[in-house]
Amino acid sequence: MSDIVLSVQGLSISYLTARGRLRAVNGVSFDLHQGETLALIGESGCGKSTLNLGVMQLLPRTALVDAGKVIYTPRGGQPIDALKLKGSALRRFRWAECSMVFQAALNSLNPVIRVRDMVYDTARAHGENDMRRIKARALELFKMVRLDPDRVFDAYPHQLSGGMRQRVLIALSVLLNPQVVLLDEPTTAVDILTQRTIIDVLKTLRRELGISLIFISHDLSIAAEMADTVATMYAGDLVEIGTVNEMFYRPAHAYTLGLLNAVPRLSADREALNSIPGSPPDMIDAPSGCKFHPRCSFATEICQTSVPKLEVLNRDGAAHWAACHHSDQVRLSAQEVLADDHAAD
């Protein structure tokens, strides 16, 4: 396809720790199309945030990119490898092409300067000198994310609530009209009503600006609502990726199914929540074969010895890949759960 804006190809990232190398992202590949929203789901520590930071070359000093490419295609330009960018080219790529909304919204704004200075800093760093124009743009964006533009523009971060700061960050992320925005759990730290506002704001921005989003979330319901494509990560591996309907109605990896079963349902009054037993593996000394096998109810001998490959499931239907030896059984089991749900309705 020609409308791919961001193509992550075999990206591997390790952290150097006192105990040895920790593979936080392990040969991850996916394509992000223009206007597409990709949701990355998975437990804490599975490498989602590291992947995002890696794309922006914002990894801490202890992290190393071992392999892989991040091919970015600018508007009307030739594809470039974003990981090879350096110096001022890297500075220009950041924010003007690909921006980011950080996880810790409360902490992502410099406490000692006003919001307007952060807006101006960002614009100036990208060669924009017409501050009147930038101010007008910022105020328009603040209005779009449902903030009181004039008050927020002149405020210090501590004068804004958590939800307001989160929306300031979202507005700031599209200030320079980037093609891709990476969102790291944009709704985690805010209450349920603010969550709703933020989701609506993101949908509006996506519709009106035509940006592509990579959306990290623990919250499957939000992923279901926002995403076109969903990708599951486990212990640094991308284990399943597919369209949102395929992933939620016909999951083919035992881990994805486990995540889905762990979500409370309105209709399910019959049983307690099924959490996934055990905890994520030690990533320095990972289990052999499929890394999920010690926690998996479908696991057999082959899962302990052979690493499953990401394989295409529907040859002619909607896009769907999974890396599971027992994807057929998982799908059957998923059908049963869904049928139960329908019966309960």
Binding site: S99, N107, L169
Partner: protein, 362 residues
């Protein structure tokens, strides 16, 4: 649904009572009130201390007068009372009120040992030199410490960082009077880089005062050794504190966010890292001013520099209690002023401190 229900705009107080309340709640008022309270407490404390000291200074003075001038006790007492500028037989509370009311009017009494010399005049003669040398020392030490500290944090683990950490730890752990003695011994006596004798005093008395290069040069030359001592005794502390403060700031999300926004490194260094990392040091600066003034007593004696420290040590040696009282008061006053300035500076650097005021003014 615009979020405009601002808590800031509500309950704006009106009228005279409102204005009064606003003043009382304001940041500046709080700072000044705290400062005045501290000065009052020190004044009271010195007053009590002088009267509780073993060997009542008045009695000592009286017996000195009796011995020296061969007069009766009553005459000596009258003389001593004249020197002390208060009636030692009056009730303590009357003495206290008398003393405080004089201090408020700027009258610190007269020196006991050299009669007829007002203490305030003495202090005003010596204070500028102390302020000059300490101010210069702290200014350099703070600036150098902050710049080197940031550099150490940016290049942590490098040779520069390691060497600087060692230097800082060593200089910071040597007491300032030892550094002063080492400077005289090594640079002055052994290497003969300067003549110790010539650098006595604050300035070369042969040069006429004025804004001439010679005079200013001589001022700096004479202040050089004390200033170098102050710098080397404190700069290590600034370097190490600034390094650790910068390191923790570098880990903050807003610094990563600033990098993600593609900001130039210089802007990130100054407005995002430097300014936040400096905040804890500003408070420390105020505290250290007190310490340095206290420490200057010995340094000024060692270098024979005519500052407040020299005056105080002479007063202590001669049991000149009024002068001691005055010097203590001035030191306390200087520390309070420095603290207030640091508080105001902190308020400028960190908007979160100004909350109380901001709420009212917006």
């Amino acid at each position: 649904m615009t979020v405009s229900s601002s808590p800031l705009a509500s309950d704006s107080p009106r009228g005279l009572r409102g204005t009064l309340r606003r003043i009382i709640r304001s940041y500046a008022f709080r700072v000044i009130a705290q400062g005045l309270f501290t000065i009052w407490a020190v004044t009271t404390f010195t007053f009590i201390l002088i009267r509780q000291m073993p060997g009542n200074p008045i009695q000592i003075r009286i017996s000195q007068i009796i011995q020296a001038q061969n007069v009766t006790y009553e005459e000596a007492l009258a003389q001593a009372a004249g020197l002390f500028d208060f009636d030692p037989n009056a009730p303590l509370i009357v003495q206290y009120v008398d003393y405080v009311s004089k201090v408020v009017r700027g009258d610190l009494g007269e020196s006991i040992t050299s009669a007829g010399t007002p203490v305030l005049g003495q202090i005003m003669r010596f204070l500028p030199w102390t302020l000059f040398s300490i101010g210069l020392g702290l200014l350099f030490s703070f600036t150098i410490g902050i710049l080197v500290g940031i550099a150490m944090a940016y290049w942590r683990g490098s040779l520069f960082d390691n060497v600087m950490t060692i230097i800082a730890s060593i200089t910071f752990s040597i007491p300032n009077y030892l550094i002063a003695l080492l400077i005289i011994l090594v640079l002055g006596v052994q290497l003969q880089l300067f003549s110790v004798g010539q650098l006595r005093g604050a300035v070369d008395t042969d040069i006429p005062p004025g804004f001439t290069p010679e005079y200013i040069g001589s001022l700096l030359e004479h202040a050089f050794l004390p200033v170098v001592t102050y710098i080397s005794a404190t700069v290590g502390g600034w370097m190490l504190t600034m390094k650790s403060s910068t390191l923790s700031t570098l880990g903050e999300e807003y610094v990563t966010a600033a990098r993600a926004r593609g900001l130039r490194s210089w802007r990130i260094l100054t407005a995002y890292v430097g300014r936040n990392a400096m905040l804890p040091l500003v408070t420390q600066l105020a505290v250290s001013i007190g310490f340095v003034i206290g420490g200057s007593v010995i340094i000024e004696v060692i270098f024979v520099y005519p500052g407040l420290g020299g005056l105080l040590s002479a007063a202590i040696a001669n049991r000149d209690y009024t002068t001691m009282q005055g010097v203590f008061l001035i030191i306390a006053f200087a520390v309070v002023v420095a603290n207030t300035l640091a508080d105001v500076l902190y308020g400028i650097l960190d908007p979160r401190i100004r909350i109380g005021e901001e709420k009212r003014t917006r």
